[in-house]
């Protein structure tokens, strides 16, 4: 951007300059950079899952590499402590990313036949952030765990 003085010779030219600045300011709103979710969006997504019920810490272990070479494909493992019997098992696990444009990443639904409540998948992380996992138990209670990660980008990214 050229740094020209906004003090132009005529008022008309000055008005035009201000208009251009205004357009640029509006344009910035639509750039992808401003579309990242904030922790409030993540909190809202969690609220929809739990219906406002209390979420206890513990039992849920979320593992992502602390430093990620490329956010496009990050290995994520979530495991929940549970006997996985007919009377006491993990019903569902929801994974929420605070820094992604859409906080929900995935949900899995388990049964007493699952054997373990351990899931591995590969996710997209838009930025360095905290990722949360919320587990709903068969008795209706919710537990959560989290992991933080730093996402870097390769030095020579593709332009064309």
């Amino acid at each position: 951007m050229h740094k020209e003085s906004i003090f132009q010779k005529s008022r008309r030219a000055w008005f035009k300059k201000i208009q251009q600045l205004g357009l640029i300011a509006v344009g910035a709103w639509f750039s992808p950079a401003t579309v990242f979710a904030k922790p409030e969006d993540a909190a809202k997504a969690i609220q929809e899952i739990t219906g406002g019920k209390p979420v206890l810490d513990g039992k849920v272990k979320l593992v992502i590499p602390p430093l990620v070479e490329n956010g496009n494909l990050v290995v994520l493992k979530v495991s929940v402590e549970s006997p996985m019997t007919a009377n006491d098992y993990v019903k569902s696990i929801h994974v929420i990313a605070e820094g992604n444009p859409l906080p929900n990443i995935f949900t899995v639904y388990l049964t007493p036949r699952s054997g373990t409540a351990t899931i591995t998948t590969r996710v997209r992380l838009a930025d360095s952030q905290t990722v949360r996992a919320i587990a709903q138990m068969s008795n209706g209670s919710f537990y959560q765990g989290q992991a933080e990660t730093l996402v870097t980008l390769s030095a020579c990214t593709e332009l064309v």
Partner: protein, 109 residues
Amino acid sequence: MSKTSRTSITMPSSAKKGSIIEIRAIAQHDMESGFRYTESGKLIPRDIIRVFTCTYNDVEIFKADFYSGIGANPLIIFTTIATETGVLEFKWSGDNGYEAVNQANITVS
């Protein structure tokens, strides 16, 4: 994205009754997130796999909801108890009528 694509299942072909087996399921799919733009600034619409299910002799034993945050060529690794000999069926479905199925046999002794 085309209406179906290649998928791959990795799991043991035989197991002892009551043991826990690990299943790896992966599908070939770009998982277009719906948050990317073309060079001219146009938004590329979302085109992802939305649901993955696994049935064991016709009983659903696992289900997953995928969102845009799942990486391309989605992989999921989960477990189940080897209860009986039979067939495990895997189904992926998603945007624009995408559907893929795969299956694997297991002998349980």
